[in-house]
Structure formats: structure tokens, C-alpha cells
Amino acid sequence: MKRVFGLSASRIAFLEGIRATFPLLMGIVPFGMVCGASAVAAGLDVQQAITLSWMVFAGSSQIVFAQLLSQGAPAWAILLTAWIVNLRFLMYSAALAPHFRGETETCRWWAAYLLTDQSFALMLARIRGGQPYPVVFFFGVAIGSWLPWQMAILAGILFGVLVPSSWSMDFTVALTFIAFLVPVLSDRPKVLAALVGGVVCVLIDLPFKLNILAATLSGIAAGLLAGKWISSKSGA
């Protein structure tokens, strides 16, 4: 096995994964704090907020969970809407699965639990760049971002407990979601999906807080139609 400074190539890949999280911390820390603070603002106690964060480990769905809970939505609507926010992980799972084929079941399920937007994006980039040991690299990124995030959650919970809610917590939440929305607007059908999703959610008023669900389905339909229309126009 080739060794550099006494480290095997796979160990190096792991360390490269950890190092890759450093520039990401600028995004992970404020987001984690917003998640922790909004959980407390929604009425979850400290124990529930902490458990939510390490059990689910998907920040945007945690925020939606907390908000719908505080708005008095029924349990099934909360679960369904929060889960839909996490549907993009199905896409990530499908994209990365081929590269986990040789791994043990334990390895694969830990990888699944640790999956985030960032670890997905970085692992995919490593694979496309043809660099070695993408799985080990993935774990470096995932573990390297899990710990700071959970600590940010704790800080956010503390902040949320100490600071009064007059500090416009909901606008901070809106800002973090704006920060997430922008990078996914990578083509015009996706922009249309966002526009339709946003407009429908504001215009309709469904019982059981199903606005988000209905708006998301409308946005997906609009995106699919736009995508089909564009590809039929170009004769593809």
C-alpha cells in the first residue's frame, strides 16, 4: 500500500474529507443555530430539540417540523410535510448508491444516516473528478460536519432559551431557506417550479396545513411540464 508520510491513501482521503468541511462551517454553524433556536421557539423543550437534531439530522425538515407544530397542524400533516422536505435525499441516495456497492451493510446505513446536502455534493464531485476512495472521503466530510452542526444546534437552543422571540426568528428562517433555494435554481424549469410552488402556497388555503404539500406537487408538475416542453422544442 502506498504510504505518504506514514499515512495510507485511504487515511489521506478521510483527512481530505475533514478538511473539505472547513469552508462549509460558515454555512453549517448559522444554519444549525437557526434550527436549534426555532425548535425552542416552537415550544419544544431542550431535550426534544436535541433529540430531534441527532435523530433526524436534516435541518430544513426540523425547522418545518417545529413551525407546523407551533401552528397546531395535525400530526400526520407535520410528518408528511417534513418528510417531503427530505425527499431530495432520495435523489442523493440513488446517485451515490452505486459507489457503496462493495461496502458492508453497517457502513452503508451509517453513510445513509450521515447523508447531507454537503456530503452528497462533495462526494459526487470527488467521484466525477476521478479521485480515490470516495466512500472514505464521504465519511470524512460527513463526520467532520456532523459534530460542528450538533454543537451549533446546542448554541442555537441556548440562544433561543435566553433571547426573547421578538428578535424575528421567522425572518432568520426565511433567510436560511433563501440561501438554500438559490443554488438549486440551476435551470429554467427549476425556477418555474420554485415560482409555482411559492405562488400556490400563498394563494391557496387548505385545511391541515397542506399548503406546502399541494404547492410542492404543483411546483414539481410545473417543472416537469416545462422540462418536457423545452426538450420537445429542441427536438430532443
Partner: protein, 107 residues
């Protein structure tokens, strides 16, 4: 909602999320989604994030559901910041600075 219900919901969401993240990585690495579902999944993120943002911006709880042009303006600014910097930190910090700064000026 009582504590037991909340805990049950947390656990349920955790299982549902893990199942989603692990459907292909953990379970079916040889299975492939039908193309229409694959295509549709691409639009989940833009649609759901926009669906979450829009009511909070246009009919916020803080103003009792009335349109607040100032909020919309700050949101447009935040959008521009996010577009240019692709940084969550800068978007939140600059956005909140504009929000509080502008709010102070209004008063």
C-alpha cells in the same frame, strides 16, 4: 399536542428520513427509479423551499398576514446576496442587518 405525541412524531420522522436517505444506499443499490420519478425529484427542492419561503415573506405572522413591502425588499436583497456569494452565513447576517437596520430607520 402532548409530549408522547411529540416524541412519537420525532421518532417517526427520524425513521422516515433514514429510510429515504438509505433506500438506495442501504437497501437497493441495484434498483433504479422509473424515469418520471427521477425527473420529478429534481424539482422537489426548488418547489418545497419556495413554498416554505413565500408565505413567510408575503403573509408573515408578525404582521398578521398583511403584505409588508419592507420585508419583501430585504428578501430581494438577501436573494441577491445569496446569488452572488452562495454563502448561507453572509445571506443570514447581511439579511438580518438590513432587516434590523431598516426597521430602526423606519421607526
Amino acid at each position: 399536542m402532548d409530549k408522547f405525541e411529540i416524541w412519537s412524531l420525532i421518532v417517526a420522522l427520524a425513521f422516515a428520513t433514514l429510510a429515504t436517505k438509505g433506500l438506495f444506499i442501504g437497501l437497493w443499490s441495484h434498483f433504479d427509479l422509473p424515469p418520471i420519478l427521477k425527473q420529478g425529484l429534481r424539482y422537489v427542492s426548488p418547489a418545497v423551499f419556495a413554498a416554505i419561503i413565500a408565505p413567510q415573506l408575503l403573509t408573515p405572522v408578525a404582521t398578521g398576514g398583511h403584505l409588508d413591502p419592507f420585508r419583501v425588499l430585504v428578501a430581494v436583497f438577501a436573494f441577491a446576496v445569496a446569488w452572488v456569494t452562495r454563502s448561507t452565513m453572509l445571506t443570514v447576517v447581511l439579511g438580518m442587518a438590513a432587516f434590523w437596520g431598516g426597521g430602526a430607520l423606519q421607526v
